[in-house]
């Protein structure tokens, strides 16, 4: 090991920079996904509300990130007599 590479090894800032680049890229993707879920929830709610009177928190939207496939999970609880609104 020559003097130059010895000095390089002892520097800590390059490692800080590398760790930051990785974690920030990861977190930006995460935030992007959760914003997408918010948008989807709002738009799905709007579509359903056109036809059925529905409670906001009865609509669950989840994105599952898998190795092979990712899935979009929708869980929508409808009121007991949900076709009453349009029928009436």
């Amino acid at each position: 090991m020559n003097l130059l590479s010895f000095l390089k090894v002892r520097q800590t800032a390059p490692l800080a920079r590398e760790r930051l680049q990785l974690i920030i890229a990861h977190e930006r993707a995460e935030v992007g996904r959760s914003q997408l879920v918010d948008i989807l929830r709002e738009e799905i709610l709007a579509v359903i509300a056109k036809h059925i009177a529905i409670d906001r928190d009865k609509v669950q939207v989840r994105v599952e990130q898998g190795q092979e496939v990712s899935t979009l999970d929708l869980d929508i609880e409808l009121p007991v007599n949900f076709n009453a609104k349009k029928a009436a």
């Binding site: 000095l7 390089k8 002892r10 520097q11 800590t12 800032a13 390059p14 800080a16 920079r17 760790r19 930051l20 680049q21 974690i23 920030i24 977190e27 930006r28 935030v31 914003q35």
Partner: protein
Amino acid sequence: MSKVLVVTSGKGGVGKTTTTAALGAAIAQSGSSVCVVDFDVGLRNLDLVMGAERRVVYDLINVVCGDAKLSQAVIRDKRLPNLHLLPASQTRDKDALTDAGVARVMDELRQKFDWVICDSPAGIERGATLAMRHADVAVVVTNPEVSSVRDSDRIIGLLDSKTIKAEKGETLDKHLILTRYDAARAARGDMLKVEDVLEILSLPLLAIIPDSQEVLRASNVGCPVTLNNPLSAPARAYADAVRRLQGETVPMSVLSDRRSFLERSFLDKFFARRAA
């Protein structure tokens, strides 16, 4: 046209309040009228850094709730007649800051001052998002250190989603102030370099503020560093930042008021002997 500027960071203790006071005083010195507003409810400190802690009568929450008029709460600086402070409440609960109430006060501030500078609390909760909500310009304060840089990235995300400008699809003017920078340590490879931070956060650089004892000296006496010692390196760096905010092109440099090694060892020995 008045401008609302938010000083924000995510992480606490990085230099937001110092920056708010320094920019406020430098803007006032340039001839524009300015009001610095402390949004750090419960942990008010801007009054201390500005040396106005004994003159606080009413605060932001009193004005938001309609218990006091804006003119009753705003404190005019004794040294710079263009400089004003709207202090935070030290005792009341921050839930008293309603969206509509804050919007009304910000409107009134815009009518009265050329610049309104909002000092944000730490964190990414309501206090921080309220402080940034009405901003036209954001200054993200970052230290060359991993947790500060990461938190700044989170705050940039909030600036792009939670501000009125962002919601309207307009662009919020964002800038980076890198502060507590130590050029010697960065050169040795023990501190992130300016370029590293810029590459990661990709924001335009407004200023590099050196880590300097002048900042502590200024806060000890309750005077913004730009006013207390205008020739010091941090004061000059903040003054350059203000010129850039006002549209001037000013070359960027890493300022320093470090004495040379020889000078330092000579002076320190001299003072050590005198003190003994």
